[in-house]
């Protein structure tokens, strides 16, 4: 892994999101709105990996991910790892997990669902399947899979 990391400069403080599903890195930047945050960001795509064939890596300087961001990340790439870097060293390794109930991060695709029509309401989805991601709206029952998730 250290070889791969050398391809871009190590960061002093911030977050390294490692083991991202290959090709998903760009989507993660977009969904988490990281590119607009003003900090320095590196995206590495299709990096050779020991665990899997390829992976994407994102390095974000001077910033740690919030819980809400980690939840979105888990939905986008359940096997990703989050490393918090302080003073060039890995200070914390976080294994991310998809919560059993996903609240306030995913939009229900059913326009007639009450969660899209009641002012001030939040969305809640039940996790049905972890591996090939499938979640279900607790209100209208609509099921969605990985490719159809729309984030709020």
């Amino acid at each position: 892994m250290s070889e791969n990391l050398l391809k871009v400069q190590p960061i002093r403080n911030g977050t390294v999101i490692d083991h991202i599903k290959p090709g998903r890195g760009r989507k993660i930047l977009e969904v988490l709105g990281l590119s607009g945050s003003g900090t320095t960001i590196s995206l590495l795509m299709n990096v050779p990996s020991k665990k899997r064939d390829r992976k994407d890596i994102i390095k974000v300087e001077d910033r740690e991910l919030s819980e809400n961001e980690t939840e979105k990340l888990a939905l986008l790439s359940p096997n990703a790892r989050v490393n918090i870097i302080r003073n060039y060293a890995v200070a914390e390794k976080k294994k991310i997990e998809i919560p059993k109930v996903i609240s306030g991060t995913v939009h229900c695709p059913n326009d007639n669902c009450i969660s899209n029509n009641e002012r001030g309401s939040s969305t809640h989805f039940k996790l049905l399947e972890h591996e090939s991601l499938r979640i279900q709206c607790i209100y209208c029952g609509r099921k969605i899979d990985e490719d159809n998730i729309e984030f709020i």
Partner: protein, 302 residues
Amino acid sequence: MKHVVSIEDLDNKRIMGILKRAKQLVPVAEGKKKSKALDGKILAACFFEPSTRTRLSFESAMQRLGGTCIGFADPSATSHLKGETLLDAIRMVAGYSDVIVLRHPHEGSAKLASEVSEVPVINGGDGAGQHPTQTLLDLFTIKEEIGKLEGLNVGMLGDLRYGRTVHSLSQALDRFKAKFYFISPKSLRMPTHVTDELQNDWSTHETLDEVLGKLDVLYVTRIQKERFPDIEDYKKVAGAYRINAEILQKAKSKMRILHPLPRVDEISTDVDETKHAAYFRQAFNGVPVRMALLEQLMGKKK
């Protein structure tokens, strides 16, 4: 608190309990016997879209048990139009009543209401979603007409795509090991989100003729004009799925026809006189079934 949002909230044991009690309550529903089981209790019927049959049968059920009803039949009479949220309306009504029956055009509204209501919420139909008391009365009708719920051959005919009654009923009958025959035009087939969940055998057909002789129950739904952009297409399809007394000669003599009503002309009136017609008794059954449920939610524990 026990809300009744979806038929999935009720396990088979509880369903059978409600059906058994409903049967005992038939004389009360008919007005031949008096009950004061829910004396002093108030039912609030909150109908954010009109549904005369559901509302009247709930109100009849409540009053037959000695309770009273408040509510509205149409949201134009409420603060809904002033922009009041559903949750604010529910919090308010919960303070005025012992049980709320909610009818609403949006899917999931009963579930949302149940999160804030301090009294039980019964889903009286939420958009294209659930309508559990309709499913209960369908099950009750089948049990009373056929004598059992287990292992029946059930045909469903008409608009299976948009008809929510057939979705919930097939979910429920699947738990009682039914074998399903889904009969519809191609464009109105049972959706895969329903068939994917079925544990028992099912098959799709385009004509009733090929399966009629096998059926114990035939559940008919109305094919709506709005589903067809071309009126000629509608006429052709609707005509092909019309039932009359002559067609039914091929049916088992004990086969029963159910329909959630109102019907237009999918069942010819000459069927009404045959032994197969169960739909008017089915409509009446809404009262004892809703009585049994209301009693279970609010009555004294025995």
